[in-house]
Symmetry: C2
Subunit: 331 residues, 2 copies
C-alpha cells in the first residue's frame, strides 16, 4: 500500500498532529508519458505553514483533504519518459506520498555521486539558493561589514552566516539555545552568537556584539528579535526578509513598533523575497555553492528524522527549533 | 535690529509656539571672506520636527537656545567674497535670522529671471529633487503601473503625482480635505484622490481606486494611512519612505501591524531615503525638473505666509495640513 499525508484541517495558530491525516491507497502505475517515483527524502520547511492557511499568498494554499507538498528527493522506479530511467534520482516539489507518478514537469535529476542525496534539499537546493541569492542580491555584503542573521542555526541561517564570512563580513547569529550558540561559533564559523531566550536585553547584546552597528540583517524570524536588531542598524543598512517564523502561527495581526521612522532615519532598505523571484540566478548560484562545497568552505547540518509517518511531527518541530540546520525526513 | 528665532525648548509631542523664542541682536557686518545675507524666503518642512528632538538622526539635533535652520533664499546685501556680489540671490541651509553672515559654504546662487525665487525652495529645490529622485530611483515607475502618494497635496506629494503621470502611471493621491482632493485631480492631474478623514474604509477605498493593485507607494505620512495602502500592494511593489509626518509628534514609540509578513509575501521593497543620499543625481534631476517646468508640464503650488514672525506658526500649520504644496514664509 501507498501512504499519503493530507491536510485534514487548517491549523489555527500553532499546528498540531490532528491537522494532518494519513490515508492509504494503491500504489499507482506509470502510464504512457509518466514516471513512477518512490519518495526517499522529504524536506519540511517553515514556509509550508503559510500554505496551510486559506489566504492568498505567493503560492496557492493547500487544499483540504488533498496531499501536502514540499521539496522531495525521489527514486525513479519505473519510467515511460525518455529523460528518466529506472534508478535515477530526482528532486521536485512533490506530494507527501510514498509513491507517486509524475509527467516529469519540474523534476530535476540529482547525482548521488557528486553530493549526498539529502544535500539537494539543502545546501545544493532551495535552502542554499535562498541563502546565497538573498544575501548577495539583497544584502549586498561588502568586506568589513557586519551581518546579523536570525534563525541562525536553521537551514538557511547556517548557510547565510558562512557565506557572510566567505565574503569578509563580521557575522553574528541569533538563535534559541546554548547548544546552537556553540554550533554556530564552532562548526559554522560565526564570529559571535546570541541565545535570545536567555539574553535579558537583546538590543544591548546585539549592540555589544556589533560595536560598529549592523549593516545587513538577514531576517528569518520577524517579531521582537527583529525589533532588537533594527534598533542597531547603520545608515544604508540592507534587510533581506526571508522568513518570519515567529509570526507564522499568530492568529491575530501581529503588531510591533512601526518601521518607517527607522528605515527613514537610516536610509535603510527592507526587502522581502522568495527564491522563485530569482530563477535566472539559479545556475550561477548553484555553481558557486557546489564549488564552495567541494573546497570544503561550506559546512552543512541536517536533522534527519526517520520514517514516512514522522513527516508531520518533523514539521511541527520546526516551530520549537528542534532542528539544527535543514530538517529532513528519510522515508 | 535683527530678529532671530531660537529653539526655546524641545517640543513634547505636537510643537507649540512657546517651543520657539524670538530675540533681537545687532545686524552683523560682513568681515573679510564673508557675505551679509538678508533673508527673503524661509522654507518650513516637516523633517525639521525630528531635529527638535534630542535624538541621533541623519542630521544632528538643533541645540537649545540656538537658531533653528532650514532652507532659505537670501539676498546678498554686502560681500567680501569674489563669488558673490551685492544684489545676488542665494539658497542654502541658513539660520532663522533676518540678517546673517556666511563664509559662502553651502550657498548656491539662484536666478530670479529663470524662475521665481520661491521655486528654488520648492520645485527647483529640495522638494522637487526629493520627489523626482525618490520616485525614479526607488519607486522605479513603469508605464501602466499604479502609483499611490500619501501627503499628496503637500510640497513633495504634488510633484510626485505629476511626475508619475508624466511617466505614464495611474496616480492616486491621499489627502486630508475635499478642497485638496479637488486640487489634486484638477490642477495636479492626479487620476483620483481620496480624503482619508472622511473615508470610512480607507483600505477598501484604495482597493476601489486601484483595481489592479498598488505597484508604487510614495509614503510621506506613515501610520494608519500607510497600513491601508500596504494592504493593497502588488507583488514586487516598491515603497519609497520619504516622510512619516503622522508619527513625528508621537511621544511613545508608535506601533502598528508588523510589515515583514506583507513585504515577504509580496516580495516588496521598502526603502527610506533623504535627498542628501543622492547628491550625485542633483544636476541631472534639476535639469529634468527645469525642462518640465519650462514646458509647463509641472505645476507647483505654494502657501506663502508673510512676515518673519510667522515662521513658527507656519511650521506648526504643517501638522494640521494647512498648506497646499510648499509652505513658505516671505520675510
Amino acid at each position: 500500500m501507498n501512504k499519503t499525508i493530507l491536510l485534514n484541517k487548517r491549523p489555527h495558530g500553532k499546528p498540531s498532529l490532528d491537522d494532518f491525516k494519513t490515508v492509504s491507497e494503491e500504489v499507482p502505475t506509470a502510464k504512457e508519458g509518466e514516471v513512477l517515483l518512490k519518495t526517499v527524502y522529504v524536506s519540511v520547511d517553515p514556509y509550508l505553514r503559510g500554505r496551510m492557511n486559506d489566504a492568498k499568498s505567493y503560492i496557492p494554499p493547500f487544499e483540504l483533504n488533498k496531499p501536502i507538498q514540499s521539496g522531495i528527493i525521489a527514486e525513479v522506479v519505473d519510467s515511460n519518459l525518455p529523460d528518466f530511467k529506472k534508478g535515477d534520482f530526482v528532486s521536485g516539489i512533490l506530494d507527501w506520498k510514498e509513491f507517486q507518478t509524475s509527467k516529469g514537469k519540474g523534476l530535476n535529476k540529482v547525482d548521488p555521486t557528486v553530493a549526498k542525496l539529502s544535500s539537494y534539499l539543502g545546501i545544493l537546493g532551495m535552502t542554499g539558493l535562498t541563502a546565497y541569492i538573498g544575501l548577495t542580491e539583497i544584502g549586498k555584503p561588502k568586506e568589513g561589514e557586519t551581518l546579523v542573521v536570525s534563525g541562525a542555526a536553521g537551514a538557511v541561517g547556517t548557510v547565510v552566516g558562512q557565506i557572510g564570512k566567505l565574503v569578509g563580513c563580521k557575522v553574528v547569529g541569533i538563535t534559541g539555545n546554548d547548544e546552537k550558540v556553540k554550533l554556530l561559533t564552532s562548526t559554522f564559523n560565526f564570529d559571535h552568537a546570541i541565545n535570545y531566550k536567555t539574553t535579558p536585553d537583546l538590543k544591548k547584546a546585539i549592540k555589544d556584539a556589533c560595536p560598529y552597528g549592523v549593516d545587513i540583517y538577514f531576517d528569518n524570524v520577524g517579531g521582537e528579535i527583529s525589533d532588537a536588531v533594527l534598533a542597531n542598524i547603520n545608515k544604508f543598512a540592507r534587510l533581506p526578509v526571508c522568513g518570519a517564523i515567529s509570526l507564522y502561527n499568530e492568529t491575530e495581526v501581529p503588531i510591533g513598533p512601526r518601521l518607517q521612522p527607522i528605515l527613514l532615519t537610516k536610509s535603510a532598505t527592507m526587502r522581502g523575497f522568495i527564491i522563485g523571484d530569482f530563477a535566472e540566478k539559479f545556475p550561477s548560484a548553484t555553481k558557486q555553492l557546489a564549488a564552495w562545497l567541494t573546497d570544503e568552505k561550506l559546512q552543512f547540518s541536517e536533522t534527519i528524522m526517520e520514517g514516512f509517518d514522522t513527516i508531520p511531527q518533523a514539521f511541527l518541530d520546526l516551530f520549537d527549533g528542534k532542528n539544527k540546520g535543514k530538517m529532513i525526513v528519510k522515508v
